[in-house]
Amino acid sequence: MNTKRVTEKEFAAWVEALIPSHTMFAPQAKEDRFAFDRLTGSADLRLDYDVSILPPKKYFLPQKEVLIKFDRKGNFESVIAHEPFVLFGVHPYDFVAMDQLNTIFEQDNYDVHYMARKEAATVVVSDVQNASADVFAGCMGYATVEERQGYDVLLTRLDDGSYVVDTRSEKGEALTAMLSNAEDADEATLLRREQVWQRNREQLQKHKLEMMPEQIPALLEKSYDHPLWAEKAELCHSCGSCNLVCPTCYCFTVEDEMNWDMETGQRYRQWDGCMLTGFATVTGNHNFRDKKAARYRHRYYRKGKYVWDMIGEIACVGCGRCISACTTNIANPVEVFNQLSEEQQ
């Protein structure tokens, strides 16, 4: 593994050279915002993006994904994706979210559909260059991923436009092989990178969490009957926007559809959301979470406690997408946790 310093020009040439031989997905402008999409020219790459509309988890857990093909005679066959691809320019907080989902889909019943995509991916993380309006990854400890494993390359842009390209795995080596002639990052370069990280840890705090994230599970433990849930949920439209933009939400539904021949069809899974009215409804129309407040609370408990109990991490990475997406301004996790904490004292 190696860490190179690559000039702006060399960097663009490298990306341009990768495009013809790789299926690459990367952040690009979409009207006045940014989205991950298939990259066809290095000029479209926008590593200066603040936040993507949807998190890049959509390449591991697509919005809609065929799991099984079947026919009406009762033959079922798995459909498993294997095509290699490069997921280029993932922000650290989004990588943390994907890393959490990797654990969840791998442990306790190995999900071969998810894992096939995960294994087919080469993940290139890019440190944040411009903070989004609502990001608070710095408060969650997820502004940087220098100590985390599981990605293949880490890119950090320095002030002069050059990039530190830190190769972390064999897959990463294959991708950065072309840069082998670039100069190795010296100590001064690594120090400048450390400064970028320090800046991001401090600046990706547009909302200030007034506690250590590790304190959230215990806080929630005491807050089940807090009036905040009903107060906030009063304004909730149960639209599920917070679910759909969340990088750590992974609930899904499974449905069948027939082809035009009416003989064959496919079973697909599709993103679902616990904030939607009928999420916990069983046949016969009994809804086990029929109150908005119960659904609203459930979402925060998923983020701050239930997933913590499963994998030992807070499942809110501080991307701020829910804050921006919520039309009634009730979805700010920092506000929720701070308010619960204040009123506990």
Binding site: L67, I68, F70, D71, R72, K73, G74, N75, F76, E77, S78, I80, H82, I104, F105, D108, N109, Y110, D111, V112, H113, M115, A116, E119, A120, E170, K171, Y224, Y250, C251, F252, T253, V254, E255, D256, E257, M258, G265, R267, R269, D272, C274, F279, A280, T281, V282, T283, G284, H286, F288, R289, A294, H298, Y301, R302, K305, Y306, D309, M310
Partner: protein
């Protein structure tokens, strides 16, 4: 990193096995009895209280409790009673013998017929189609009758027309080695038995609390009233097992639909020891 070949050899947790409907008949206006037979592939080892995902190709999958006992049918045969209520169950009701379905499972925890219940007096409390999964445990217990103490079955339905497995109910009623009591919420002209909710029956039985294990399965509303009655009878929470219905969409602890607070009901349930969930707020 795992190679594509190694990955393709991993079992797909969502893949059903082909099965055939071998028997189907109406039990009530809304419930039909089904017997499914696995065509090929591996047989499923199951225990009373577990459920399967049943597929009708083109309509989808639904979680259905197994009603047969492994003591009575081989592991390639499954009996189920299915209420016509949603998309998939309506499609199931339209099937005729010989038609294919998909089966995936078995999933979830089971009634403790081989551990906590052994050597103990057993009380089954069933409301409505709650009898369906409990029937599996009842068969299991009756087929190993010597392994258990007193056996009491309490069953309640809305009306006489909603009674399931009426021939078996008659058999249980006439057997001398079990106590069988039933009630209906609303009687008709021919009904000569008890009228009232299921808790009426609990007031009539004599139990030795230290020696008794209780199994409860019924509609969501039933549990708290039955549990209240059991408290009066001084039965410890750890001797009570409840089977809780939730929307088990994937049945493998991923999709999130069945969560009871932090618990995936498809993994930690559907059969729970009541002591384990007494503080879980969304449970009962």
């Amino acid at each position: 990193m795992m190679s594509a070949t190694a990955l393709s050899q991993m079992r797909d947790i969502y893949l059903p096995q082909k099965a055939t409907v071998t028997e189907i008949y109406s039990m009530t206006e809304t419930e039909k009895f089904f017997r499914f037979h696995l065509e090929e592939g591996e047989a499923f080892d199951y225990m009373p209280g577990q459920f399967m995902e049943v597929s009708v190709p083109g309509f989808g999958e639904a979680p259905i409790s197994i009603s047969s006992s492994p003591t009575r049918v081989d592991k390639t045969t499954f009996e189920m009673v299915i209420r016509k209520a949603g998309n998939v169950t309506t499609a199931l009701h339209a099937l005729v013998p010989g038609e294919p379905v998909g089966l995936r499972g078995p999933y979830g925890t089971h009634f403790p017929v081989e551990d906590a219940m052994k050597g103990k007096d057993v009380v089954f409390v069933c409301g409505g189609i709650g009898l369906v999964p409990v029937r599996s445990a009842i068969h299991y217990v009756l087929d190993n009758r010597d392994h258990y103490g007193e056996v009491t079955i309490l069953s309640g339905t809305r009306s006489p027309e909603d009674r399931l497995f009426t021939e078996e109910l008659y058999e249980w009623k006439t057997r001398s080695d079990i106590t069988f009591l039933e009630t209906v919420d609303k009687a008709d002209a021919r009904w000569g038995g008890t009228v009232g909710v299921i808790t009426t029956l609990l007031k009539r039985i004599q139990i030795n609390p230290a020696q008794t294990v209780v199994v409860i399965c019924g509609p969501p509303i039933m549990y708290k009233f039955v549990l209240l009655e059991l408290r009066k009878l001084n039965i410890d929470n750890s001797q009570i097992y409840v089977s809780l219905e939730r929307h088990m969409r994937c049945a493998v602890g991923k999709c999130g639909h069945c969560q009871i607070n932090g618990l995936y009901a498809c993994q930690k349930g559907a059969v729970f020891n009541y002591a384990d969930i007494v503080d879980v707020k969304e449970a009962i």
